[in-house]
Amino acid sequence: MEEINALLQGFGVALSPLNLLLMFVGVILGIIIGVLPGLGGANGVAILLPLTFSMAQQPGGTTSAIILLSCIYWGALFGGAITSILFNIPGEPWSVATTFDGHPLAQQGRAGSALTAAFTSSFIGALIAVIMITFLSPVVAGFALRFGPPEFFSVYLLTFCAFVGMSGGNAAKTVASMMIGFALAAVGLDSVTGTLRLTFGFTSLLKGFDFLIAVIGLFGIGEILETLEEGLAFKGASARINMKVVLETWKELPRYWATSLRSAAVGCFMGIVPGGATPASFMSYGLARRLSKDGNDFGSGRVEGVVAPETAAHAAGTSALLPMITLGVPGSPTAAVLLGGLLIWGLQPGPLLFVEKPDFVWGLIASMYLGNIAGLIVVLTCVPLFAAILRIPFSIIAPVIIVICAIGAYTVHNSMFDVYLMVVFGVIGYAFKKLGYPLAPMVLALVLGDRAEENFRNAIKGSQGDMLVFFSNGLVGGLTSLALLLLFWPLIRAGWRVVLGKS
């Protein structure tokens, strides 16, 4: 097969000693970047981009440069899970869903298992995505072209519907929480009319509420406040720290093959569309919760609840590079920076890149395989080390976490206002927990609300007010129907039972 040959050549390019070294450097840098909340993969890559500028001018240098930068990206994808699990602070937006079950696991003293499951699933998600890129790229690359505003809206609708009701408890509280999220997402510039809204004349509000600041406050600070109340004890202190936990978790993982495959499929789809890694992780967590036998126990510390979002996030993050290479459309903020990098190095992402620069493209694809293997090795060997962090007394680690959170919030826009905002969100997060309001729907609405709104309004604008645009072709109609089906599933099931019972 043609692809295999091209890929082997790609491995030839990627396996030079320099490139291997860059791979490990990139992965380790990426993990550090992923761990620090607020810094984020996109910023990390952007900071290093100018360094690669002179690197790209040596022969074969563009490949080395993209290997370094994309490995930072893989590293950040791995790293985001670490703080989510250990401290309930998502380092990256797509790690939010990992906290739902990952952090309870850590509290039960199973941080090692949660980390191993997260890293392994990440790897599997990425592997499935890169295999798809290797063999199916010509087929799936064109798929993204079919996505206009109505299609994008239906994808977001599907994410919301897959997620509603997942909090289990009070449906009214879930809806209330989600609506607060939508309201927060609406603050700032209205991108459809180009005017400001809900800023009340405060210039600090014109950039809107950044997702990362809200998450750092709601989850990180909220968690610390709650722990303070419960007597300064870190529940995960009994964590065992040796490598055995990795092997034990591996024995458990094959049980969740269905969740893995489903999540990888969701992730690949969302990456190619490109919808992004964050909705992919939420959607596959929601689906896993509904479809798994243990669905009702999700949120109390199920390994499967870590597997689903991590597989999807990594699959989406990896496959997001495909629309970037073939169409020049970035599927994630980090891919957007990488895209800028390609242009700066004099490469033109687009349909012809595969034909004109096969060395570069296949070198990059080969580095996706190798970079993820490198990443897995690095993070797995560090599992006991990460888990051991939980043994540090809370009175020492809590101030450190608060400082890191504050730095993270500051870094997002270099603004002190955001640090105060983080504290406010922390108090809100604490209040939500005490009052039994779920945080997840609010976060989801905050991160996807404005994109969903924008695509909805553009779709309606394009159809001149005709709502049937959401059923105007098989693709958008199918997605919308699936979303509605998921939303009304409990009603439909109940209705079905009534019908069956009567007949």
Binding site: G328, P330, G340
Partner: protein
């Protein structure tokens, strides 16, 4: 002044002064950054302004044109208002630069955010970005005339895709409407690359993408350029597709569509900086513009290579501001 020469340190100082006067004045007076220079981009990562800022940063680092490092910071909030307000508030800070796009004019006009280019110090115009009218190559429209006629006959169902709202792409769209009487539905997206792909996927009927945003799709045969919104053709004669170069695209005016628009890619500093500080950056950017890397970047993006500094640059910006006020007033885009 008394006892001036009696103190030993004063003697040294006087000597030093004397020595300094002996070397060329410029070297003595020249200001240089003493800490990291922050380069603000009032737009998101990966866009045209961001790319240009990062390539400038890359060229400076690679050729060691500045002793202190330079960092690029994106402050995209509120259509760039976040970045402009930040620079406005840094009055007198010589360690801050900002690269502008047309939102220097459009954002304060459309949102009433309190800033104006007069709050900043114009340093250097690096280039002007071109706009090209694109259609999908599978459509039958070979010329601007045919396309505009079809839009008119279509009765307001044709969609124009563009980046942002009440910004350059929509201003051009409204200008086309005023000029020809054709009506478009304007659909706003987040970035130029996305807009080009939406045109390939036929979710919109035309775009006014910058050359660099659409070139890959043009070369792949998916898009067709109809005309460029500049007074003269783009000067780049190297073939981009099998048959065409940038130079082969006619100007819109020649094809009967009398609309001209170019976007500023210029560098500003905060207000209240000294003349020497400004001159330092003018000289620095001159060195950047002389590098082959910069030249190939301009060619790649088919930029209009006009560069201005000093009074001429200020006059140009003032003229453009007046033009934007007029264009946006006509379009009904001014904030109430």
């Amino acid at each position: 002044m008394r006892n001036f020469t009696n103190r030993p340190w004063c003697k040294t100082a006087a000597l030093a002064l004397f020595a300094a006067a002996a070397v060329p004045v410029q070297a003595f007076a020249a200001w240089e950054p003493t800490k990291t220079v922050e380069f603000v981009v009032p737009a998101g990562t990966g866009g045209g302004a961001d790319q240009m800022a990062r390539i400038i940063q890359g060229i400076i680092a690679k050729n060691k044109l500045m002793k202190e490092p330079m960092v690029v910071v994106n402050k995209a909030g509120g259509a760039g208002a976040e970045g402009f307000l930040d620079v406005k508030e840094s009055k007198g800070d010589p360690h801050k630069l900002i690269i502008t796009l047309s939102n220097l004019f459009t954002t304060p006009l459309a949102t009433n955010t309190p800033f104006n280019w007069r709050d900043l110090t114009p340093v250097q115009m690096m280039a002007l970005d071109n706009f090209v009218l694109w259609v999908n190559s599978e459509t039958p429209y070979k010329t601007t005339k045919e396309y505009i006629a079809a839009v008119k006959a279509g009765g307001g169902k044709f969609k124009m895709g563009g980046t942002g709202s009440k910004q350059e792409d929509q201003i051009i769209t409204v200008a086309i409407e005023k000029q020809t009487g054709a009506k478009f539905i304007y659909i706003s997206y987040r970035g130029g690359g996305e807009v080009a792909v939406q045109l390939v996927g036929k979710h919109v009927d035309s775009t006014v993408n910058n050359p660099i945003e659409a070139v890959a799709q043009w070369r792949a045969g998916s898009l067709r350029p109809l005309c460029v919104f500049d007074a003269k053709r783009m000067p780049y004669k190297a073939k981009i597709t099998k048959t065409m170069s940038w130079y082969d695209i006619p100007t819109c005016k020649d094809t009967g569509l009398d609309v001209e628009y170019l976007m500023l890619r210029g560098i500003f500093m905060p207000g209240g900086v000294t003349e020497e500080q400004k001159q330092y950056y003018v000289d620095l950017l001159k060195k950047v513009r002389e590098t082959p890397d910069w030249k190939s970047f301009l060619e790649q993006g088919a930029f209009n290579q006009t560069t201005l500094a000093g009074k001429e640059y200020e006059a140009w910006v003032a003229r453009e501001e007046a033009r934007h006020i007029m264009l946006m007033k006509e379009a009904g885009f001014l904030a109430k």
